[in-house]
């Protein structure tokens, strides 16, 4: 099954994968060959790709995954290989989420933004980096 991970700036990965675990907006889902065609949005989280006995992990935020008959393409606004993820990058992402939250608060629609921040904190925990305390 063909797997592609692309960000607006470049293509990060293109490989033949056996299984892909996607952090979907409604929960994680694992895609294997012949999955039903699906489009799902992403929540901040860790994307795991199993290919040739190895597991590749990427940190992704924002965007969506398209599961077609040919394979999976993940279009993420930000995507970084997990090993390359630094505290500064996470802090920048967190600041961004906080910014979104603050603006949503003014408009009175905090639910989505609060979830975004919670996802961000959970992602930080999973990859072993600490996030700033969100101010809600």
């Amino acid at each position: 099954m063909q797997f592609d991970l692309v960000s607006p700036e470049r293509s990060l990965a293109s490989m033949d994968a056996t299984a892909v675990q996607i952090p979907g907006a409604d929960g994680d889902m694992t895609i294997m060959a012949d999955h039903a065609p699906t489009i799902t949005t992403l929540r901040p989280g860790v994307l795991k790709v199993e290919a040739g006995g190895n597991t590749h992990e990427f940190v992704v935020t924002g965007g969506f995954a398209e599961i077609g008959t040919m394979g999976v393409s993940v279009l993420a606004e930000q995507a970084v290989a997990r090993a390359d993820m630094t505290q500064e990058q996470l802090d920048a992402m967190m600041d961004d989420a906080q910014d979104t939250y603050n603006r949503a608060k003014e408009a009175g629609m905090v639910d989505d933004a609060a979830k975004l921040m919670a996802d961000m904190v959970a992602m930080g925990g999973e990859i072993g980096l600490s996030t700033k305390q969100p101010s809600l």
Partner: protein, 290 residues
Amino acid sequence: MPNLKDLKNRIASVKSTRKITKAMQMVAAAKLRRAQEAAEMSRPYTERFTAVMAGLASAAAGSDSAPKLLSGTGSDNVHLLVVMTSERGLCGGFNTNIAKLARAKATELKGAGKTVKILTVGKKGRDQLKRDFGDLFVGHVDMSEVKRLSYADAQGVAKDVLGRFDAGEFDVATIFFAQFQNVVTQIPTAQQIIPFAIPEDYESGETLYDYEPDEEAILADLLPRGVATAIFSGLLENGASEQGARMSAMDNATRNAGEMIDQLTIEYNRSRQAVITNELIEIISGAEAL
């Protein structure tokens, strides 16, 4: 007739100008390659994104609950023109062509009784439009600090535009940039980004997708990102176009300087010969007079 000293200085000055334009051309060529690579790298994302968006949008278009970014505000009285140009000059007609297209559009809209607002990205376009439309400017994004264009820069512009849209400042937004064709041709282009326009050549595929969460939620999530994506690809095209235009402008300038040097050299040699001939005549006639 200019004297020899003047001519010599003139030749030296044109020669140093040629050196500068030659260097600029080579720098532009190197930057062009990088800009083109960046534009190519972003293409898979943009294409996929637009395809999925078009699919969702054509399904949702016409429904009452469609998001405003897709269906519009219901009127088209206030237009926002986002004019994207470069921060630096000396790149031929690049900035002028974009400004010209924007100017034509603004005049046309004003003639039709619409309100026009202009947001400029890049200093050069702002300078060119200031005289005619200075009172329509609502904002400016400074890109002079940006060394290497990143998606975050486009997101910044998109946030600005979306903020204004949410505040009800305009109904329709159009971006202006130059599409890179090759080094000699860059096509000034206007592209409507709000409300989202389904590409004319879009054909829905055979595949029927499941959506998670539902289609509307995905659409609402993707539409604002679509604005950023369109701006990003416009800026990348602009980056390549700018360097391409600069390269060919500087190539012309270098050639012109070369021609000028040739001409001046001929003139210089002629006058030098004339001076020598004169001196000889003086000596010979002096000798004959004895």
